[in-house]
C-alpha cells in the first residue's frame, strides 16, 4: 500500500458503513512530461545502459535518435558521456541494456564494421584520417567496401569540399585542421551512408573554420543524409539542430528541438551561460 493517508485501511472493516467490494484502483500514468518523440527515428539508440569493457556503467537509460533528413545534436558538459553515447550507437561500447535500431532494424549486436556495411558513416573525434596517404587515397579507402564505380561519389565529395580537389595529391596529414576534418567527413561520405555520425567535428579548429565546417555540415544534411553529431559548442550546434539532446552524467537531461532547448531557461542557465 502507498503512504497516501487517504488510502489507509484502518477502521475500514465496518461493513455497515463501507461496502466491502473494492473499487477500482487503476491509476492513469502522468507521462514523463518530456516527450522523446522517437517514433519516426531513422537511427535510434534506445534507453541504452552500458560502459567500457567490464567497467561501470557510463550511460544510464540514455536515448538519442535522429529522424530522416534532420540534424540531431548531442550537447552537455564535459564528461557527460556525449562521445560515449555516440560510440554506443556505433557499437564501440558494451551496451548492457537497450537497443540500437537503424531504419527499424535492430543492430545492437553488430560490430562497427557491420554497421558501416549497413549504411552508417562514422567520423571519430581524433585519428580520423590516414595521415600518410594522399587525400584521394583517403577517399578511396573510405569506399573500400564498395565494389562499384566510386568516381561519381568522389566528384560529389569534391563538389562539397572544393579545397580537397586542389589538394587531392597531397598527404592528408600535411593539411590544416579544418581541411583534415573535411577529409574525414569526405572519407565517411564515400560509402554513400544512410546516416552520418560526427564526433566533435569542430574540436580544435579556429572559430572561422568552425563556422565554415558548420556550413558544410548543413550542406551535407541538405543532400538528404541524416546527421547525428556531438558538439562542444552547444549554442552554435543547437542553432543548426533540428533536435537536441542535453546529456548530464550519462542521462538524458533535456530533449527538444534546437530552438526549444535554446529558449529553455534551465538549459540556458546550466549550459549556455545565461
Amino acid at each position: 500500500m502507498s503512504d497516501n493517508p487517504y488510502q489507509n485501511d484502518r477502521g475500514n472493516m465496518d461493513f455497515s458503513i463501507v461496502n466491502p467490494r473494492e473499487g477500482g484502483d487503476m491509476q492513469p500514468s502522468p507521462g514523463t512530461g518530456h516527450a522523446m518523440s522517437t517514433a519516426s527515428a531513422f537511427l535510434i539508440g534506445d534507453t541504452m545502459t552500458g560502459g567500457y569493457g567490464n567497467g561501470p556503467n557510463i550511460l544510464h537509460d540514455c536515448t538519442i535518435a535522429v529522424d530522416a533528413g534532420e540534424i540531431a545534436v548531442i550537447v552537455g558538459p564535459n564528461g557527460a558521456g556525449k562521445s560515449t553515447a555516440m560510440k554506443a550507437v556505433f557499437g564501440m561500447l558494451n551496451v548492457r541494456q537497450g537497443s540500437v535500431r537503424l531504419d527499424g532494424e535492430d543492430i545492437t549486436d553488430l560490430t562497427p564494421q557491420a554497421r558501416v556495411a549497413k549504411g552508417m558513416g562514422f567520423v571519430p573525434q581524433t585519428n580520423n584520417i590516414f595521415a600518410s596517404m594522399s587525400v584521394e587515397e583517403n577517399l578511396e579507402m573510405g569506399a573500400f567496401i564498395r565494389r562499384d564505380d566510386i568516381r561519381e561519389t568522389m566528384e560529389q565529395v569534391y563538389e562539397l569540399f572544393p579545397i580537397l580537389k586542389d589538394k587531392r595529391r597531397q598527404a592528408a596529414g600535411e593539411l590544416s585542421g579544418g581541411q583534415r576534418q573535411q577529409v574525414a567527413v569526405g572519407r565517411a561520405l564515400m560509402t554513400k551512408p544512410k546516416v552520418l555520425m560526427l564526433d566533435e567535428p569542430t574540436a580544435g579548429v579556429s572559430p572561422i573554420v568552425m563556422d565554415e565546417l558548420f556550413d558544410r555540415i548543413i550542406e551535407v544534411s541538405r543532400t538528404g543524409i541524416p546527421i547525428l553529431m556531438v558538439e562542444q559548442n552547444a549554442r552554435q550546434a543547437l542553432e543548426i539542430a533540428d533536435k537536441g539532446y542535453v546529456l548530464v552524467q550519462g542521462r538524458n537531461a533535456h530533449t527538444g528541438t534546437g530552438k526549444e532547448l535554446l529558449e529553455d531557461p534551465e538549459v540556458r542557465r546550466s549550459f549556455l551561460g545565461g
Binding site: 562497427p112 564494421q113 584520417i129 590516414f130 600518410s132 596517404m133 579507402m141 573500400f144 567496401i145
Partner: protein
C-alpha cells in the same frame, strides 16, 4: 697517379660487392619494415625465415641438378626453384601466424609480446633448418660464374687491374630492382596495397572503412615470405648458405631497417645500402687503391684497413648509433618514436 686503375680496383673490391650486399640487405630490411609497419613489431625470426626459404630452394636445386640440370642457360638453377621456396616459406609464415601471432592479435597484446614470441619462433625455425639441412656451409650455385671475369676484363681494356663481375652479383642487383619496383607498384597502385598502407597508418579507421585485418596480415606475410626467400637465395648464391650466417644477418638487416626509418620501405632500401657500403668500405684494405693514386715511392706501408672484417657488425651498429642519436626516426621518417 693512375686514376683508371684505382677506380677499377675500387669498383671491383668495394662498389660492386657492396651494391650486391646492399641489395640483399635492402630486400631483407623491406621484409622487416613491412612487418613493423603492419603487425607493429620487430620480427626477430626474419633471418631464420630467410634461412628456411633458402634451404627449400637449395633442396629443390639439388633435386633439379640431380636430374641433370646445370643452370638455365647462364643463370643458376636456383631461380627455377625460387617459386617453390617462396611458396613453402609462405606456408610456414602463415602457419606460424595462425599458430602463434593470431592468438596475441585476438588478445590485443602489446607489441613487445609479439617481439618476444618472434624470438621463440626464431629458435624453432633455426632448429628446423639445422635439423633438415645441417649446420655446414652449402653451395648450390651453378650456371655461368662470371658476367665479366678479371682476365677477360684485363684483356679487353689492357689495364693492369682486373674487374670481376659475377653472375650472382648481376643477378642480385637485377632481381632486387625488379622486386622493389613490383613492391612499390603494389603498395601505391593497387587496392590491396593501399589497404595495407591504410592499415599500417591507422588501424581503427581501416577497420571502420571495411578493411579486413586478417586479410591484410596474410598478404603481408606472403610478401614478406617472398622478399625473405629472394634475399636469402641471392645472398646464398653470392656467398654461401650457412644457417648461422643467416641468423647473424638479422643484425645488419635490422640496422638497415632502423637506419632507414622503421616502417618506411624507401628507408629500408636506403638503409640497406648505407650499411652495406659502410661495412665494406670500413673493412676494405685501401692500400691498393691508394698505391695507384699516390705519387711514385709514396706507397703506404700498412694495409689502410680501418677495421678487420671480424668487426663488420660493429660498423653497422656504429652507424645505427650515430643515426639514432641525431635522427631518432631514421634517415627517412619512420614510424618509431
Amino acid at each position: 697517379m693512375d686514376f683508371l686503375n684505382a677506380f677499377v680496383a675500387l669498383l671491383n673490391f668495394v662498389i660492386i660487392p657492396a651494391t650486391a650486399y646492399g641489395a640483399q640487405l635492402a630486400l631483407g630490411a623491406l621484409g622487416v619494415t613491412l612487418i613493423y609497419g603492419i603487425l607493429r613489431f620487430s620480427n626477430f625470426a626474419h633471418g631464420d625465415t630467410m634461412a628456411f626459404g633458402t634451404m627449400v630452394v637449395i633442396l629443390c636445386t639439388w633435386g633439379l641438378q640431380a636430374l641433370g640440370m646445370d643452370g638455365i642457360g647462364p643463370l643458376p638453377t636456383a631461380l627455377l626453384a625460387l617459386p617453390v621456396g617462396i611458396a613453402a616459406t609462405g606456408l610456414l609464415v602463415i602457419g606460424t601466424d595462425r599458430a602463434v601471432y593470431r592468438f596475441y592479435r585476438t588478445q590485443k597484446a602489446k607489441p613487445v609480446i609479439y617481439v618476444i614470441a618472434s624470438l621463440g619462433v626464431m629458435f624453432i625455425m633455426n632448429g628446423i633448418v639445422r635439423f633438415i639441412i645441417g649446420v655446414d656451409d652449402q653451395r648450390f650455385g651453378d650456371g655461368e660464374r662470371f658476367i665479366i671475369s678479371a682476365r677477360t676484363f684485363r684483356e679487353m681494356t689492357g689495364l693492369e687491374e682486373g674487374l670481376a663481375f659475377r653472375t650472382s652479383q648481376g643477378l642480385t642487383i637485377a632481381v632486387a630492382v625488379i622486386a622493389v619496383v613490383l613492391l612499390f607498384w603494389f603498395l601505391n597502385r593497387t587496392r590491396t596495397g593501399k589497404s595495407m598502407r591504410a592499415f599500417s597508418d591507422n588501424e581503427d579507421l581501416a577497420l571502420l572503412s571495411g578493411i579486413n585485418p586478417e586479410r591484410v596480415v596474410m598478404i603481408t606475410w606472403l610478401i614478406v615470405a617472398a622478399l625473405a626467400t629472394t634475399a636469402g637465395v641471392l645472398y646464398g648464391l653470392d656467398k654461401s648458405f650457412k644457417p648461422f650466417t643467416y641468423f647473424q644477418l638479422l643484425l645488419p638487416i635490422f640496422a638497415a631497417a632502423i637506419v632507414g626509418g622503421l616502417g618506411n620501405p624507401v628507408g629500408a632500401i636506403l638503409g640497406g645500402f648505407v650499411i652495406a657500403f659502410s661495412e665494406v668500405g670500413v673493412t676494405y684494405a685501401f692500400r691498393k687503391v691508394v698505391t695507384y693514386l699516390a705519387p711514385g715511392g709514396w706507397e703506404p706501408e700498412g694495409l689502410l684497413q680501418l677495421l678487420s672484417t671480424d668487426y663488420k657488425f660493429a660498423v653497422s651498429f656504429g652507424i645505427l648509433l650515430i643515426v639514432l642519436l641525431f635522427r631518432p626516426t631514421g634517415i627517412m621518417k619512420g614510424k618509431s618514436v
